[in-house]
Amino acid sequence: MGGHESQERGYSHMFDLNKIEGRGKAFGAFILIFLTMAVSEGAGAKMNHHTVHLPSTIQGWERTGPNRIAGSKSLFDYMNGGGELYLSYGFDHLDVYHYVSKGHEKVLVEIYFMKSTDDAFGLLSLDWGGDAVRFDPPSSKGPDPNVPEVPRALYGGGLLRVWAGRIYARIMAHRETPDTRKLVMDLGRRITGDHKSANPPELFNRLPDVIEDGWALRRDRAGYFRSHLVLNSLFFLSYTNILSLDHSVEAVTAPYEKTGEKTGRIQALVITYGSSVKAKEALQKFLEAYLPEQKRPVDFSRTSVYNIEDGHLAFRSTRQCLVLVFKAPDDRTARAAVDALTCDSNKKGDEQ
């Protein structure tokens, strides 16, 4: 099945023809050329912040929809517990389209309109697997050295996932064939349209690539989120919201790995709250749930380290920021990791 082949390429294989092997190379070249030409012809979909107009027919495919889904109940009716994922971010509404060919092939289009570009980014960030696809032309200014290059669209197994401004879109072929792939890519290009690309959230950008002593960031496993439900899907801590996560906070989590003589993996978690008071309250709540045996008063502004079942746990709260590191092999690594991780110190709000 095609999805397997693209499973682990993800982040480290930005759409680079040199990295596409075998027969995929020629096809990949065709796709890149096709997409570049299509963009340069300005054939994007009409789009505003609340809707995207997709053509009723494309190359023999007929469209039905959109079916607009707004509100948590409607979303639950549409996808049961799957809807909780989108509600965990700033969900506004969903437009659903179906395309059917004369040969009865089907493509499902789901366009999630989120309240912010960060929320739409967060949905893409939950899984960096797949082949990166580029619909927008490279910036004439060149890449911003302060912003890591991230894929805006990822394709694998017949599914294209797109981040375009406040939109997160899933375009999924019921069966992956050359024809369905062509339509999926065409729709992806149209949805992206001429929508101005946004930068990833600053909190995500701020993850250091390397922590002392050779611990390298696995950015292909880094996720941006606001909910403990999403955190649990990336790194399980507790079924209960022990870190007081909600739509007012931002959080990233990512593993750092070390290879060589001593391999290992630590998990970083960085959270920004609305105020320093909320950050400290969250840390207190975390301690009571996660380290209930810890009775001594803790100075939250200094790094604390505890050796527990799966390694060293370290944390520190500075202003609105809470940094936690899990599974560190020793005290020194745990402290170094906490020191290296940081939040955005320029956020408005309580600066105590």
């Binding site: 099945m1 999805g3 397997h4 693209s6 499973q7 682990e8 639950f76 996808m79 049961n80 517990g81 799957g82 909780e84 994922l85 899984d127 697997g129 797949g130 694998g156 197994g157 017949g158 599914l159 999924m172 072929a173 069966r175 992956e176 439900l229 649990n232 899907s233 990336l234 790194f235 399980f236 801590l237 507790s238 079924y239 209960t240 022990i242 749930a289 996660y290 209930p292 527990i308 079942e309 799966d310």
Partner: protein, 294 residues
């Protein structure tokens, strides 16, 4: 008596203290100790056929029928399919088949083959073989329930296959989120459901090992199997093992479902619905063995 609520965390799974944390004060039912389960062993059957589904994912119903027959014969140990089904149903039963209705649904072909089989082999009129998925009125009308869920991981509960299959019978599925998913077993003990489940058959033809319930083709694969047994918890445990092994194969390293499926252990040790311990489950493997994963 005031109950002290203790939060389940990652550390409980690492320390093996999940049982102690899920106490009577939380679930209202005592956590069974080890001795109560010491002698329980269960059997789960996995039947696979490489030809049951083609590359276009069309299902060969003849081969599916054969798989179903083999499943029944292996589970019951009987010599004929008719005698096998007679272990579970009688001609005057009203049988509720409980499929996964959408988002990686149970294959229609399995539902139809099963219905035809029950009619032909067990002598049950077709009007008494019903789709019993939905609200609590549906199981009330049935004397026998046969869950036929599709095998899938679930982003909220780890796995969303057997134990979750009856969630709509609760009338309030949102009550079973977060750590309250441990309570899924209680639905199986509701009066309209209790003791009606004779057999579980999991549609493992084209399972989903991540991102469920929302379909994601990158994580679906043609396992081409049916997984069945009389112990729903044991069947779910084997299903979980299949999913976790597939995830490991995809990533090249252990990649267990997250969050850990708390409902499974609770179904065993709180609600006494069956065995979740893989060491106590005997797996019978029939048919195609390639990449069977267990």
């Amino acid at each position: 008596m005031k109950h002290h609520h203790k939060t389940i965390t990652r550390r409980d799974f690492l320390r093996g203290t999940l049982g102690a944390t899920l106490t009577a004060s939380m679930l209202g039912v005592p956590w069974m100790d080890k001795t109560a389960h010491a002698m329980q062993k269960s059997s789960v059957t996995v039947v696979r056929d490489r030809e049951v589904m083609d590359a276009g994912r069309s299902v060969d119903t003849r081969r599916l029928q054969s798989m179903l027959d083999q499943l029944i014969l292996t589970i019951t140990g009987k010599k004929t399919v008719r005698d096998g089904w007679a272990v579970f149903v009688k001609p005057d039963d009203i049988v509720g088949l409980v499929p996964t209705p959408h988002l990686n649904p149970t294959h229609d072909e399995l539902f139809e083959v099963l219905r035809e089989t029950l009619h032909r082999e067990a002598g049950i009129p077709k009007k008494n073989i019903r789709d019993a998925q939905g609200g609590s009125r549906r199981p009330k009308q049935c004397t026998v329930l046969i869950p036929i869920p599709a095998l899938k991981a679930h982003w909220l509960t780890g796995i969303g296959t057997v134990m979750k299959n009856y969630i709509m019978y609760s009338g309030r599925p949102t009550r079973y989120h977060d750590e309250k998913s441990a309570r899924l077993g209680e639905i199986w003990l509701q009066p309209e459901v209790k003791n009606k489940t004779r057999l579980v058959i999991v549609d493992a033809l084209y399972p989903l090992c991540d991102k469920g319930p929302q379909p994601d083709p990158r994580y679906r694969w043609p396992y081409r199997g049916l997984i069945g047994g009389t112990d729903p918890v044991a069947v779910e445990a084997v299903c979980l093992e299949v999913i976790n092994r597939k995830r490991q194969a995809l990533r090249g390293e252990p990649w267990p479902v997250t969050p850990p499926p708390i409902c499974l252990e609770a179904a065993d040790k709180v609600y006494g619905l069956g065995t979740s311990d893989m060491k106590k489950i005997n797996i019978q493997r029939i048919g195609w063995k390639k990449e069977i994963l267990i």
